[in-house]
Subunit: 97 residues, 2 copies
DNA sequence: TCAATAGTTCAAATACAATTGAACTATTCC
DNA sequence: GGAATAGTTCAATTGTATTTGAACTATTGA
């Protein structure tokens, strides 16, 4: 796996995004990423087996909420601030406040 | 049934609200109620049997998104604008834009 | 009182989502 | 090459949501 699918902003769908955020685990992950720094999967402080984490990261990524950058053995996660702000201005502010 | 449960603003929970909004049918209902007028259940223009509609209205009501006022045979639905704005400022604007 | 209307509740079916561990891939470092 | 690390994928299980029709409650109007 060298390339991961990330939707473009015009593929963003509000229903999909809200559905992704509607799960408490994923909302927590987003909150943990809120300080704008990139984090590895393990740094998201969620107490679940890695396969479950992997699933939630995929849901968030495919909804357009996070970017996953592959570097060596690790994946670096970050919120797609600018693009989300462009498409749904104010949404992240509400979620992360 | 004379009284329906409606959470108070301090019972509002972001995860519950996002989960309620994460369903396409319910998001559509909220959008249909966006013009701030009260509507009966039948006026929400969702093509589902009444039992399914009743279910979705209940999820929205119990999350705190809508108010259901009983008047005679009918229920009048409306979005809880002020209270939602108080607790999650900007959320409805993002959703309804 | 009787029928019509508006919606709820129930139980059952179906569908979808979350969770798990094991096996797997890819990368790094010795 | 071999072991360790970081994460993915798979298949199976469990759990939760949605959908449905039928039966029900409550209200209105004839």
């Amino acid at each position: 796996m060298r390339q991961l699918f990330h939707p473009t902003t015009d593929q963003f769908n509000l229903s999909t995004i809200l559905n992704a955020l509607g799960d408490p685990t994923r909302l927590q992950i987003i909150k943990n990423l809120a300080d704008k720094s990139e984090k590895t999967c393990a740094c998201c402080n969620v107490d679940l087996p890695k396969s479950a984490l992997s699933h939630h990261f995929k849901v968030l990524r495919e909804a357009g909420l996070i970017n996953v950058r592959i570097e060596g053995k690790q994946r670096f996660l970050s919120i797609r601030y600018e693009e989300l702000e462009e498409k749904f201005p104010g949404l992240l502010q509400v979620i992360l406040r």
